[in-house]
Amino acid sequence: MTPLLYLLAIQAADPEVIDRIPSGYSHFVIPFTVGITFMLCWIGVGCVRLLAAIPKADRIKFWKSLLIPKTIVKNLRDLFGDCLFHVKIWMRKPLLGYMHSAIAFGWFMLIVLGHIEVALFVPARLNVTRGGLFYPIFYRYFVWVNPGHTTLRGSFFFFLMDFFLLYVLSGIALAVFKRFRSIVLGMRHTTKPSLADRIALYSLWLIFPLRLLAESFTADLSGGSFLTVGVNHFWHFLFGDKLWFTPCWWAYSICLGLFFAAMPFSRYMHILTEVLWILLRNAGIQPNHPRKGVAEAEIYACSSCGLCLDACPMNVQKKNLKYSSVYFIRFLRRHNEKKINAIADKCLMCDKCHALCPVGVDAPALRRAQRATVNDTLPYDYSYLPLAVPGSILAGETTATLGTLRGGTGASLGDASGGAERSEAVERPKVLPGTVSNNKVLYFAGCMTHLTPRIIKSVEKVFKEAGVEYEFADRDGGICCGRPLMLAGKAEAASKVIEANKKLIEGSGCGTLVLSCPICYKIFKEEYHLEGIKVVHYTQFINELIASGKLKVEKSEKKIVYHDPCELGRGCGVYFEPRAALDQVGTLVKAAKEYDESVCCGGSLGSLTLDTRDRAKISESSLENLLAGDPETIVTACPLCLKTFSEAVSNSRLPIKNVAVKDFAEVFCR
């Protein structure tokens, strides 16, 4: 006999609960039933529409992913961790995490336990035709407890139900408190709710107190535990035997109905859409449009919690709050094209909102996709780049520039057009003996680094000191890495410069490619797919040189603070190596916010429309963040950060002129 049948048998013999209302129906359930039916239809249709909009290959990938054990485990972990327990918020802001998880997990448990109770005691009512949609929700209204037949099992559920109700109520209390004093929960700015948000929000606040009221009124009939029974006694003490519980159940039902009816138009839709988004995300499906297909699941998964408001470095100025990811997504939902574009273009693409998002909404990717809808088709022309036919397009300057690469490594790229001789005439690196060697290191400085000669000089010094055999790929200039085009939403164009660069670098015959610019590093690592070439950032490379004893360093007492460049830290996850290396030469002090919470310097190429004044404000706040530990030297590993901080320090009106801003490699030069 299965346990369930066993239980049923017991119940048949000696029921613990008896139907109080034999029909199992009362008019007050109508508001709730209408609300939830509307919402379920909405989301059902939405899901079908959404899945239909995904390319077929992706859709198949999605269904398949649901069967892969590894993905299943990940899905379960994420569903519980992100949707119910809000682990990511807990880790950063415990009180806020408690609030979110109390409401989400508590409510979830109330629903689950409610259904279990019905399944145990009046299983027939689970049938949809017999009120299965609303009965478990209003279970307490419809039943008596059979006096003298209560069991330990029954009391246990009564206790659990009361416990979780209290748990949710504590979360609601915090949520109400947060509306007025959000800073206590660790939030400086909170999202401005829309009309539907307000309706849903206020109903949500009311649902649980009303539930307590309703259930406590009926507690002496339908049973309860420490909370509901206790409150029930209190009502009897106040009002004697005159309890009007029908209005309370009506109010409870109306609030639920209102909440569910407003849900599709409000931020609370995320409660359900988040599930779909997590499944799609874990299936590895990337959005290719800012609003259609997967992106739709993503934008509806946003809970408008507003954590991205404080995360956004632009929000040092209050006027920039409207450019935050939460509003970007809100306007995406509303199809407000003009605002969407303005917001998409403003962003620095520092990725902090993505890193901190409790549901992992990749807003920067959506912004990039949005930029692409406008910029990708602009008439640009890259036919001048050496693409398909090696050498044939190279002429004049081009040949001379690229000649350094070719000449240095045994003319692998073609002997076209007398370019070789010409490149002899131009400044060319002295080729070290042993032409093509897999151990050879190729250093690619990138466009920006040519405006910060400190970096180039220092990198070369360090290489020489450590005896690294290297070639300087773009000493006389090169082609852009493509990342800036990518950030501007011009993926098609980016692929062209990538192709051109790739050809040159693969043709060089090097074994390791060292990059000093994190912008280059990110795209080289992610998009270039260089065969047999190790791509490293110079922080990693120098750390390796130190670890292997090739580069000798001396420890000093100098207080150093390290700034994580966005593209290197959040972009590529390189946090450890630069710190490990710096720890060998100085004393690392902490910035106020570090690692994935580090603050963009304001010089990012990501933003298209942010002007110099606004950028200067961001730089100043980022600088303040770094100065928290009172350092003597600020070290960064990005030409843009270096330039931005240098300017910020010298132009700042704060008394901080004695702080030196140094490049990472500079610290290791003697």
Binding site: Y384, I479, P484, L608, T609
Partner: protein, 109 residues
């Protein structure tokens, strides 16, 4: 009236009467920095694309003012948006957005 040949060969002189005020206002609304260039040439000097093929933001801005829209687009079409120009501009012009804006406003499409 006697035709001295201008009908056959269009004048290469800059004709400010052809200046499209409306388009220009649109550009300025999109990127106000379009107004503040002082033609120092820093952008052109450092231009990554300019190493390979004639590319010049300074020239493009001048072309816009001189009613040579096609030339402006021509001067920017090779741009790789690398942002070097924004680093060196002494007026702090948001060059990348200006480049995109000029292309948006003046391209025929």
């Amino acid at each position: 009236m006697v035709d001295f040949g201008f009908g056959l060969v269009p004048s290469s002189r800059i004709n400010l009467d052809l200046f499209d005020r409306e388009k220009y206002e649109k550009l300025v609304a999109m990127e106000p920095d379009a107004k503040i260039c002082m033609a120092c040439g820093s952008c052109t000097a450092v231009c990554t694309a300019g190493q390979f093929t004639p590319t010049s933001l300074r020239e493009a801005i001048e072309d816009v003012f001189n009613a040579k829209d096609d030339k402006a687009l021509e001067a920017l079409k090779a741009c790789q948006l690398c942002g070097k120009c924004s680093m060196v501009c002494p007026r702090g012009i948001n060059t990348r957005h200006l480049i995109l804006s000029i292309t948006k406003v003046y391209s025929k499409k």
